[in-house]
């Protein structure tokens, strides 16, 4: 094996691709060769790095120096200074404060532990990092029920928003004695501001595959589909490559590891409807129908894809499973809270110093996430509110900054963790504008199947537009509450049941803004 004195990890993700990372790598390679460094310094293309910097981001080992926003023009200086003279280029380095450092972000990672460290396009890298150990263990030393027992014991809850215990869900389906069952991965990440699944898939696609195989083995499914957002081009490419590699290694297909267990995985590209993140609408879409929800019961676990029992799990949920099986549920229970064990991946955006993603223990407070992991507020701005959970989330004011971020604690404030998106607003932002934007989104994404959601989203949008223009009254504000509550109680699926959270939290937590704008 070749020995390099230094490794440059280059993050290849949608952001860096947009910044021209491919041309950058070619230029960097040429520059290194020009300086006779090609044999000494290795360039590794990885998934998203540990921190979420802007533009093209690099990590250099063994020094563990992080650069962000690097441009082709910077390459000669970088090579001269860092790689020839050993002096890191300070102006390109990621800012480090007392509390914030990209390193700190690595401490409690489960699903992102390999992200940014291994080459996501190489199965050997994943295996080298301990990948597929859980699968080998599950197929050779465990019965399907043992897998379910372990997942149940871990207390893993669904990470897509509904927080249903994964082990329990699996046990319903595994108990059914039918010839065909399916596993469907919900990778149709559509919640505004959420891109955690994208980064999980970009950074470590094999971990997701391993989770799918474990789930299929546990419930007795022989076919799995990954229903993925069409915009996630890089994820799609990497998953396709990963699936092919897994087939080549005998990890997918017939008689995996001589266990007699067969599994095929297929990718299905979504067409961009928010409602298709709802599991039954997703199934309709998979079947080739219009993406509208089905009534539950029967639940998909009993009657799902083509009427067969179907497990629908979120990407992050399944990505946790290899860790649980490899290390054991007890190890997993060390993370998070007793009620919500494990970690959660958040995407933080808006007016914070370092927008991006972090994976932290369940139960970490919103304040800690914003201050420690996102580097606090952007310089010169004060915190006003955070929209937690995406459009189907709640708007929290500063007095709730110390709320613990887990499924149970947030429930006390009629809030939800949802997908884990956190949008931070500074003191100059208008809550009315934010609500308008959310309601415009719902109006656009309602599937139109049921009348409360179809008509309600339009009513809410028209009312907030009127209020925003200064033509509304407090009666209109109260009407919005009535409509949103009626939608919550009478809509067919979670989409129409959701706008109440933004509407109520905006109006209750920021009443003064509504009084002010309706005064005229």
């Amino acid at each position: 094996m070749k020995f390099y004195r230094s490794h440059i990890l280059v993050s290849i993700n949608e952001t860096s691709l947009a910044a021209g990372v491919q041309e950058f790598i070619t230029a960097l390679r040429n520059e290194l060769a020009k300086n006779d460094l090609a044999e000494e310094i290795n360039i590794l293309e990885t998934g998203p790095l540990g921190f979420f910097g802007r533009g093209i981001c690099l990590t250099v080992y063994p020094e563990n120096i992080n650069y962000e926003g690097v441009k082709i023009e910077d390459i000669p200086e970088l090579v001269q200074e860092h790689f020839l003279k050993g002096r890191p280029v300070k102006r390109l380095m990621v800012g480090v404060t007392e509390k914030f450092s990209p390193k700190f972000n690595y401490e409690n990672r489960i699903v992102l532990r390999n992200s940014g460290i291994i080459d996501p396009e190489n199965i050997d890298d994943y295996i080298g990092a301990g990948g597929y150990v859980a699968l080998e263990k599950a197929l050779t030393n465990m019965q399907p029920n043992d897998i379910i027992a372990e997942v149940k014991k871990s207390g893993l809850k669904g990470r897509g928003g509904a927080a249903f215990p994964a082990g329990l869900k699996w046990s319903f389906t595994s108990a059914l004695d039918v010839p065909q069952k399916y596993v469907v991965v919900n990778a149709d990440e559509g919640e505004p501001g959420t891109f955690k699944d994208r980064l999980i898939m970009e950074g470590d696609p094999h971990q997701l595959l391993e989770g799918i195989i474990l789930c299929a083995r546990a419930v007795g499914a022989s076919k799995a589909y990954i229903y993925i957002r069409g915009e996630y081009k890089l994820c799609i490419a990497r998953l396709e490559k990963a699936i092919k590699q897994a087939y080549d290694y005998g990890i997918l297909g017939k008689n995996i590891f001589d266990s007699g267990f067969d599994l095929d995985i297929e990718l299905k590209i979504g067409a961009g409807a928010y409602v298709c993140g709802e599991e039954t609408a997703l199934i309709e879409s998979l079947e080739g129908n219009r993406g509208t929800p089905r009534w539950k019961p029967p639940f998909p676990g009993v009657e799902g894809l083509w009427k067969a029992p179907t497990i629908v799990n979120n990407v992050e949920t399944l990505a946790n499973v290899p860790f649980i099986i490899a290390k054991g549920a007890d190890e997993f229970l060390q993370y998070g809270t007793p009620d919500c064990p494990g970690t959660k991946v958040y995407t933080i955006l808006g007016d914070v110093a370092y927008p991006g993603l972090c994976e932290v223990d369940m139960g970490t407070t919103l304040r800690t996430i914003i201050n420690d992991y996102a580097g606090g507020m952007k310089k010169g701005f004060r915190f006003k509110a955070a929209l937690v959970g995406g459009a189907a989330g709640v708007i929290l004011p500063d007095r709730l900054l110390d709320v613990k971020m887990d499924f149970t604690s947030l429930n006390q404030y009629s809030a939800v963790l949802g997908s884990g998106a956190i949008l931070v607003l500074n003191e100059h932002q208008s809550i009315v504008d934010l609500l308008w934007s959310i309601l415009r989104f719902f109006r656009h994404e309602s599937c139109g199947k049921c009348s409360p959601c179809k008509n309600g989203t339009q009513q809410l949008y028209q009312l907030i537009s009127k209020i925003r223009k200064g033509n509304g009254t407090m009666e209109d504000v109260n009407l919005m509450l009535l409509i949103a509550e009626t939608m919550q109680q009478t809509s067919f699926c979670a989409l129409g049941q959701s706008p109440i959270m933004a509407v109520r939290s905006a109006i209750e937590n920021f009443t003064d803004e509504f009084i002010e704008i309706t005064k005229k």
Binding site: W295, R443, C450
Partner: protein, 594 residues
């Protein structure tokens, strides 16, 4: 036997099969849960959100129409909150609805109107959000006014699942969601067969027939025109309920009296040509049987079925009887035989048909149905239009004294009248075919095996001198597919059809369940109307078509004999192949005799 469970609805304990939904269980004990999109004949879509009920242990209400009962379930069907939600849901629907009740065809029959009234909602509680779009008026039979659509999806369910025609679907999403034909090409450019079941199940006035009332009034009020009218068998059992009489009242003579009072110049009866159809079709059938034909003969009276066949089963077109429908036979005779007998210039005759059917409007406009030298049938009114006409004329239908029809083309037998129920054409045909083969009358003319509402009915009849004649009856086009697929399979594998003679009616229940029938035309009332026709049949003095004196007279004086050259010219037709994408004619597939 399904497992039963114990449920409690508003404190009432009941034990019901576990396959039941909450709304079915509540209906069973007479607890009415307000509803809009739910219809007992169709699988629930759960679209409207009105039928929500509280179930103990659930944080939010559930839809009673699609939630199955479960052991120990405690259900509350009314509460302050439920009332508020239901009202707001209906107010939201009204805010997106073209509220023009007084002039709407569904006025007083509209389920949204009565629900809003019952719940005491304020139609102006919410700002209007309706964006008006033009109605689809492309079809000769059906008008689709999206501004009145509430998105319940019943029309789609009935079109796609009951009729398997696939003309309608949801398009776009959110507030822009609407029901549409493929690529918004309009009903006339879709596989729509004009059966009108969508208009029957539409809870509002969004789907209704293309009205020809004005044109008919114009003709009646024009002294130059001689307006002759015919009424389909099912009409006489579908009027009474609209005027306070019991459902299924048999009222042919009040019907004649009303028509005469409205001002029709000549009041005749389609039942007469139903008997004539049996003579033509029965003769065709007997000829085929005697020749040992391996391909079946299929009835041709139902225009929805004919367009369906032309679209989806053109390979079986040669099996379909060439006999025109009773309506079209009447149409052509009204401008030939009748004109001749009465000495009236056929150009001045306006031939009007009152039909339980929207597809008849399309049939009447078929260019090939003009063998009289004119368009054989000028106007078709549905039962619903006829009821409006009676009301416009201010006729007290329930109390109008009975009158006889005019003579010449109005006498009918029991065989003619049962044409209006599924299995009726088959039963009528068997009664006469038996005679045509054996020369003697059947002793027991009640062929009960082909009666009733089972989707596909089969029977075997012993005909002396021939042997067993196997017959099948299908009503509703999804049932027609079942039969036709077996015919195709039999022809392909064994070279012969499982049946010699097949009756197909497009609408479930037959014509009594037609797309032009009064609103609220559910399966239960179709069954009741069907029974009323059999009741009339039982009480008629003549029950076999070949004994109809006026039919015998028309052969003697005008046509010669069944399937004569003139009969083939005037009373028989031919068929076309149509595109499954837009319903347009692509080729002529059978040729006209005579």
């Amino acid at each position: 036997m399904a497992k039963t469970v114990n449920v409690f609805i508003d404190g009432h304990h009941l034990e019901v099969p576990e396959t039941m939904t909450i709304i079915e269980a509540a209906d069973k004990i007479g607890i009415y849960i307000p509803r809009l999109c739910y219809h007992p004949d169709l699988p629930p879509t759960g679209n409207c959100g009105v039928c929500v009920v509280e179930i103990a242990g659930n944080p939010t209400p559930k839809r009673a129409c699609c939630t199955p009962v479960a052991e120990g379930m405690k259900i509350v069907t009314n509460s302050k909150k439920l009332r508020s939600y239901r009202k707001t849901v209906v107010e939201m629907i009204l805010s997106n609805h073209d509220v023009t009740c007084p002039t709407c065809p569904a006025n007083n029959k509209c389920e949204l109107q009565s629900l809003a009234n019952n719940l005491g909602v304020d139609s102006e509680a919410l700002p209007n959000i309706l964006v008006k779009t033009p109605a689809d008026e492309s079809s000769l039979s059906i008008i689709r006014d999206t501004n009145k659509c509430i998105g319940c999806g019943r029309c789609i369910t009935v079109c796609n699942e009951v009729q398997t025609v696939y003309a309608l679907t949801f398009a776009e999403r959110g507030i822009d969601t609407h029901i549409d034909t493929a690529f918004s090409q309009g009903m006339a450019n879709s596989p729509c067969v004009n059966c009108g079941q969508c208009t029957v199940y539409c809870p509002t006035g969004a789907l209704h027939e293309r009205s020809e009332l004005d044109a008919v009034w114009e003709a009646i009020l024009d002294p130059e025109k001689h307006v002759i009218v015919q009424e389909a068998p099912s009409i006489r059992v579908s009027l009474g309920e609209e005027f306070g009489m019991p459902l299924g009242s048999v009222t042919p003579k009040k019907m004649y009296a009303a028509l005469r009072k409205i001002g029709f110049d000549s009041v005749m009866d389609t039942n007469f040509t139903a008997d004539l159809t049996i003579m033509e079709e029965g003769t065709e059938c007997v000829t085929k049987l005697k020749a040992g034909e391996k391909r079946p003969l299929i009835t041709s009276c139902s225009p929805g079925w004919i367009k369906f066949m032309e679209t989806y089963y053109p390979d079986l077109a040669d099996c379909v009887s060439t006999a025109k429908s009773p309506m079209s036979m009447f149409g052509v005779l009204s401008k030939t035989y009748y004109a001749q007998e009465k000495g009236i210039d056929p150009a001045k005759i306006v031939s009007v048909a009152i039909m339980p059917c929207t597809a008849k409007k399309f049939e009447a406009r078929r260019p090939e149905l003009s063998d009289s030298g004119f368009q054989d049938t000028d106007y078709v009114l549905t039962t619903r239009e006829f009821i409006r006409m009676i009301k416009e004329a201010g006729i007290d239908f329930a109390n109008i004294p009975d009158e006889e029809p005019d003579e010449g083309m109005s006498f009918y037998t029991g065989a003619g009248t049962i044409f209006g129920a599924t299995g009726g054409v088959m039963e009528a045909a068997i009664r006469s075919a038996y005679y045509l083969v054996t020369g003697t009358d059947l002793q027991n003319v009640d062929i009960t095996a082909v009666r009733g509402l089972e989707g596909v009915k089969e029977a075997s009849v012993d005909v002396p001198g021939f042997g067993k004649v196997n017959v099948a009856v299908a009503h509703g086009l999804s049932n027609a597919r079942k039969v036709l697929d077996r015919v195709r399979e039999g022809l392909a594998t064994k070279g012969e059809s499982p049946w010699h003679f097949i009756e197909i009616m497009a609408c479930p229940g037959g014509c009594v369940g037609g797309g032009g029938q009064p609103y609220g035309n559910d399966i239960a009332s179709r069954a009741r109307r069907g029974l009323a026709l059999y009741e009339e049949d039982r009480n008629l003095p003549v029950r076999m078509s070949h004994h109809n004196p006026e039919v015998l007279k028309v052969y003697e004086k005008f046509l010669g004999e069944p399937n004569s050259k003139l009969a083939l010219k005037l009373l028989h037709t031919h068929y076309f192949k149509r595109s499954v994408f837009n319903g347009q004619v692509t080729a002529e597939i059978t040729h006209k005799h005579g």
